[in-house]
């Protein structure tokens, strides 16, 4: 009706009002004082006026006050004008909460501790997940980086190499990549420094560093000069670690010369300290990158399409191309290549190139474990939240008198809820702070257990996103977990609340129901975790029971590489096959003579159990005319006579190799799996296998059958395995295996000396005990079991404590009632029954919900299990029994206490 004066004319902009309030915030007392003075003066003048009208002193004052109105109310309203009332209220709530919490040390300690555990564990796992899975790789525009590999799914060959013409077609003619590089992990002998070393080398294309967007810290990286060189360029780039370790941080490193597998090379650059090669290497970080034009050995001056040597390519997709689009277009391009060059791509092979994002390629094996961790820690966190909720409910129920009083004095429900929420927020922020400390050192410990070399390990640190995550989680926990108890606590019947018995007694049922609910939730979640860890444990046990087919006791292995220099002017000693054989014989003979050595053997190919890469060789069986492409695949190793004795592999039929197996005899041994798969009869001695090309086969005769050995890993099924005598085919990469009488540590030192005595320039590397290798192969499984079991134990403890707390409190509240029952003649067992029935109800509810959730999500665990059904009955029933048993124990203690109630004391009141 009447226009608001504030909306017309010249009113102060809101800013001025705001600043007045801010100023008043700091000059608080002054403003307050002035206001009081002003109002007091007004009152005085009213008094004076009244006195003039003839009233007495007392009367005048009383009338003045009545005329003025509600003084305090006016003051309140005025105060609203010059301060932020909500800041005041918050400040008040905070200091009240702090006082309250420091008085109840026990409660605060448990609450903060629980949250620290929950938030800390969650933040730790988040840190891991964020660093390895979510954060982009530390290379320029890493979202565009992909790997490309090829396979022949038609003949079960998971990885097949890539030839130079294929590489060049993909790079230049497919239109999919802006840059493409080969990536070929090798290792080589480094000589020309203090002592010969075995280093990790990576063959790449000249565009490799440009592709990654990486530059050298010293010198330069590969560029256009290297593109013109047909063979391997003499210039190499070192990693920072190699520069420090092998070249002693030489300041004049650029231009320094050394020999790599006897070939002279010169260092042209050193990469910065944090730079790591994006990919798997043979065993360790890359020490040296080298490149070339791929027109010389080992590729040949005119490389053929069939000579597929390069294992992997790394590329940067053309701008704007997504991975799905690229894969689709790649499939089309591959079909075209297969048609154009049908001689080189037999139809049965179904040659397929495949693109994968570099990030998922690198984290492929760690990814499932990390997500499992994430899921488990989420469950633990929920349990911690439920614990906190219960604790808050308990605390709130103990303050019922106080809350009722405040409500009666005029506090609104919102005020009470706000105060309780501030309290829970304080607890959770405290818990979050401690949790952050936990989260800063826990990931580092976990990473040490994870058996993968990842390029982002350096980046694991307390950083902004971790802080943000922790604070957010803490705040949300405080607010949401605190909300339910707060809402429940503020909904009070004032009359009963204010009564003397307001601390305990009667109408606690809704609070009690809520607490029982939370306890059930805890039980359910613990069941899920316990079942998960039970299943993993069972799998682990199954895997441990697998017979690996060999004995790792007291066996030491080590590797040697007989280098092939490429240049014609460098010594060619080991290029000659005969020289290699002589070396091998020499080595075995001298090693057998080391005191303490029982057996010594030398081998190559797929000869080290549990660490084979699964690459298969083609063989043909006698009498089998195979149509184009359908060849038999088998693992192949070349071994010396004592190999089987060294590893404890039993000879099931025929005989092992002897020194007589050389020259033209061409004898081989096969394992039982090969015998079963290739010939299906028992009688395989004397059968023949051919290797080599179809028109010029080399025939080998089977003279013995040996037991199966787990070549890839304990949980990988057996492939056919064929053993050739090493003294007929000796390759360059050799493995030395030595079985000692006693502790192998004594012999390990002597091995290098023995090899040096044959050839001064040959380093041995990868010296380790075979049982360490076995243990490492189980490392990832063991890690998952340990972590999950730890989480499950923690959750079990928390839920048992929660259950105990709920029942204790409810029993305490029912002291009167129970005392009455006892006085009226109830037997002890009746009391037990009453209390434990409550516990039983909670447990049954929790277990049923937990079972439901487990069965629902059980399938996600399938990838981790070995020969264990996801709904394994034994494990499920064991966990249910375990949980129920512990829960019954937790409810027995309060029951015992209840049964001991002295009825007289109870009835008199507390």
């Amino acid at each position: 009706m009447h226009p608001d004066p504030r909306s017309t004319g010249f009113s102060l902009p809101p800013m001025k009002r705001f600043t007045r309030r801010i100023r008043a915030l700091f000059g608080r007392s002054k403003a307050e004082q002035e206001m009081t003075e002003e109002l007091a003066l007004h009152l005085e003048m009213l008094e004076d006026a009244n006195r003039k009208l003839g009233m007495g002193e007392e009367e005048a004052r009383r009338q003045a006050r009545r005329q003025f109105g509600h003084l305090e109310g006016v003051k309140e309203e005025l105060r609203d004008r010059f301060c932020f009332s909500w800041i005041e209220a918050l400040h008040r709530d905070c200091s009240y909460a702090i006082r309250g919490l420091s008085k109840n040390r026990g409660f605060t300690f448990v609450a903060v501790g629980t949250l620290a555990l929950g938030i800390g564990a969650s933040s730790a796992i988040f840190s891991l997940v964020e660093t390895f899975l979510l954060r982009p790789l530390p290379y320029f525009a890493s979202g565009e980086l992909v790997t490309l590999s090829c396979s022949n799914p038609g003949i079960d060959q998971a990885t097949v190499g890539i030839s130079v013409p294929e590489f060049e077609d993909l790079r230049d003619r497919s239109g999919l990549f802006s840059e493409l590089s080969i990536v070929w992990p090798t290792n080589c002998n480094l000589t020309g420094t203090e002592s010969p070393q075995r280093i990790e080398a990576m063959a790449v294309s000249p565009s490799f560093f440009r592709l990654l967007g990486a530059n050298a810290a010293r010198g330069r990286v590969f560029g256009s000069e290297e593109e013109k060189i047909p063979g391997w360029a003499p210039g190499v780039v070192l990693s920072h670690r190699a520069w420090v370790k092998y070249f002693g941080s030489d300041e004049n490193i650029v231009g320094r010369q050394a020999r790599f597998d006897y070939d002279p090379g010169v260092v042209i650059g050193v990469m910065p300290e944090g730079f790591r090669h994006p990919g798997r290497t043979l065993s360790d970080q890359v020490d040296m990158w080298y490149t070339g034009g791929m027109r010389d050995p080992p590729f040949g001056a005119t490389p053929t399409r069939n000579r597929r040597l390069v294992p992997l390519l790394i590329g940067r997709l053309a701008p704007g191309l997504s991975i799905q689009d690229a894969q689709a277009r790649l499939a089309v391009f591959a079909a075209k290549l297969r048609d154009d060059y049908s001689n080189d791509y037999p139809k049965a092979n179904r040659w397929t190139p495949r693109i994968e994002a570099l990030q998922s390629h690198l984290t492929g094996e760690v990814r499932p474990v990390l997500w499992l961790l994430f899921a488990s820690v989420a469950l633990v966190f929920l349990i911690c939240c439920a614990t906190l909720a219960n604790l808050l409910l308990v605390r709130a129920s103990g303050r019922r008198q106080e809350i009722s009083l405040r409500l009666a004095l005029g506090a609104t429900r919102a005020t009470i809820v706000r105060q309780l929420c501030v309290e829970s927020l304080l607890i959770s922020l405290c818990g979050g702070a401690f949790g952050l400390m936990l989260a800063s050192w826990l990931p580092v410990c976990i990473v040490r257990l994870v058996p993968e070399e990842l390029p982002q390990v350096n980046e694991l640190a307390v950083n902004g996103s971790l802080l943000f995550f922790t604070i957010t989680v803490a705040c949300f926990t405080g607010l949401f977990v605190g909300l339910v108890p707060a809402l429940q606590a503020s909904r009070l019947d004032l009359v009963t609340g204010l009564k003397a018995g307001g601390r305990s007694g009667g109408s606690d049922s809704s609070s009690g129901r809520l607490r029982a609910c939370f306890a059930s939730v805890q039980v359910a979640l613990s069941l899920v975790l316990l079942t998960g860890s039970g299943l993993l444990l069972k799998s682990f046990w199954n895997v441990l029971q697998i017979d690996p087919g060999f004995s790792a006791k007291n066996v030491v292995l080590s590797r040697i590489w007989l280098p092939p220099p490429v240049r014609p002017d460098t010594p060619q000693q080991y290029n000659n096959g005969a020289n290699r054989i002589i070396f091998a014989r020499n080595a075995v003979a001298r090693m057998s003579q080391i005191p303490g050595v029982k057996y010594a053997a030398i081998a190559n190919g797929q000869c080290v159990p549990l660490s084979g890469d699964g690459s298969l060789s083609q063989v043909r069986l006698e009498g089998e005319t195979s149509p184009d492409g359908a060849q038999r695949m088998a693992l192949a190793s070349n071994v010396s006579p004592d190999y089987f004795a060294t590893l404890g592999i039993p000879v099931l039929q025929g005989r092992p190799f002897t020194d007589a197996d050389q020259g033209d005899t061409r004898t081989i041994l096969v394992d039982q799996a090969a015998a079963d798969r290739f010939w299906k009869t028992r009688d395989v001695l004397g059968k023949r296998i051919a290797t080599g090309s179809a028109d010029k086969p080399q025939w080998w005769t089977v003279v013995g059958v040996v037991g199966n050995v787990k070549s890839g890993g304990l949980d990988i099924p057996d492939s056919a395995h064929v053993y050739f005598p090493i003294f007929q085919r000796t390759d360059r990469g050799l493995t030395i295996l030595v079985k000692t009488e006693g502790d192998p540590a004594l012999v390990m030192g002597a091995l290098q000396g023995v090899i040096r005595s044959i050839d001064l320039d040959l380093p041995i590397y990868g010296l380790k005990r075979l049982d360490e290798l076995v243990s490492q192969s189980l490392a990832q499984r063991r890690f998952a079991v340990v972590i999950l079991a730890a989480f499950a134990t923690v959750s079990l403890l928390l839920s048992i404590l929660g259950l105990y707390g709920v029942l204790s409190l409810s029993t305490a509240h029912r002291t009167c009632e129970l005392g009455l029952r006892i006085a009226l003649g109830a037997h002890k067992w009746n009391i037990y029954r009453i209390v434990m029935q409550q516990g039983l109800l909670i447990v049954v509810a929790g277990v049923s919900v937990g079972l439901g959730v487990t069965l629902l999500f059980a399938q996600t665990l399938r990838g981790f299990l070995y020969e264990t059904k996801v709904t394994d009955f034994a494990t499920l029933s064991a966990t249910v029994f375990l949980l129920s048993g512990a829960a019954m124990l937790a409810s027995w203690l309060p029951a015992r206490r209840a049964a001991r109630i002295d009825p007289l004391v109870a009835l008199r009141g507390e």
Partner: protein
Amino acid sequence: METRDKLDLLQGTLDMLILKSLQLQPVHGFGISVRIRQMSRDVLQVEQGSLYPALYRLEDSGWISSEWGVSENNRKAKFYSLTAAGRAQLTNETEQWERLSSAINQVLHAS
């Protein structure tokens, strides 16, 4: 809660009266209530409890300003005075009130 609704209706009117009472010279709070009573010949008695909130509000809006001074009986008192903007606002509001009240009068005296 009801008192607040009532105040909302009368708030604008009270503001106008306060501005008017400050037209001639600066006055303190008690003095303003006395003046309004005087000017209205004892008809309008300002509820003391709503006076000061109105004064603070008017000062926030910038139509009056305040200053500490000495009252007639030598006590420290806060004196309020009209600002230029306040004077203009007073003129505006007076015009609007005249228009409104004559319109209402016409409605009430129509047949």
